[in-house]
């Protein structure tokens, strides 16, 4: 892979991170915000996976007849842990959203924050 194209990954990662951040900052719907958060998270995971890759390399599995160079197993392990953390945060957020909906009657942040409730 050429050097410029390899950076294409990084460019895409920055764009995805920015889109996710924009959704988190501007959308008033709480569920939409959580989806935005997930997009930001995958962008960071993408950065880690790409930084650990090797051109023409194989997955870091020994004894499967795969030839070195291997991609970095550390990067993959970090992302695995990251995905689990992201799932946990999302699940807790969704349960909290249900509580907000039941107790406040809305999940649109601008309606919830109006001074007269």
């Amino acid at each position: 892979m050429t050097e410029g194209l390899a950076h294409l990954d990084y460019i895409a990662v920055v764009i995805l991170f920015a889109i996710g951040l924009y959704v988190v900052l501007t959308k008033q719907n709480l569920i939409k915000k959580i989806i935005g958060l997930n997009i930001m998270e995958t962008a960071v995971f993408g950065l880690i996976v790409t930084s650990g890759m090797v051109d023409g390399g194989s997955p870091p599995l020994l004894g499967q007849g795969l030839e070195p160079p291997y991609a970095s197993p550390i990067a993959h392990a970090l992302v695995l842990t990251g995905i689990v953390v992201a799932l946990s945060v999302t699940a807790l957020a969704l349960v909290l959203i249900l509580r907000v909906k039941a107790e406040c009657g809305s999940i649109e942040l601008d309606e919830l924050l109006e001074p007269d409730e």
Partner: protein, 82 residues
């Protein structure tokens, strides 16, 4: 540019398109489905980057379980964004 690079570039474009569409979409159920598509595209990319473990996890979690959890939430909060 090899066919591989073209494939990668196409996936990246698909990812960004999905993300933009999710940002604009008012129908939350459609946004969640698109997020599944997005996760799935990401899996393909990661297989290409030599990370099958991560790809499997992303497929199971991002495209699968996360979407299910979102759907159950939407069933009780309504699928339209105001």
């Amino acid at each position: 540019m090899s066919p591989n690079d073209v494939f990668d570039a196409l996936i990246l474009i698909l990812l960004i398109t999905c993300a933009l569409a999710i940002a604009r979409m008012k129908d939350l159920a459609a946004a969640v489905i698109l997020f599944s598509v997005y996760s799935f595209a990401l899996c393909l990319l990661w297989v290409h980057r030599g990370a099958p473990d991560v790809a499997m996890t992303e497929a199971a979690v991002g495209a699968g379980i996360t979407a299910v959890l979102f759907f159950y939430t939407l069933a009780r909060t309504g699928r339209r964004e105001k």
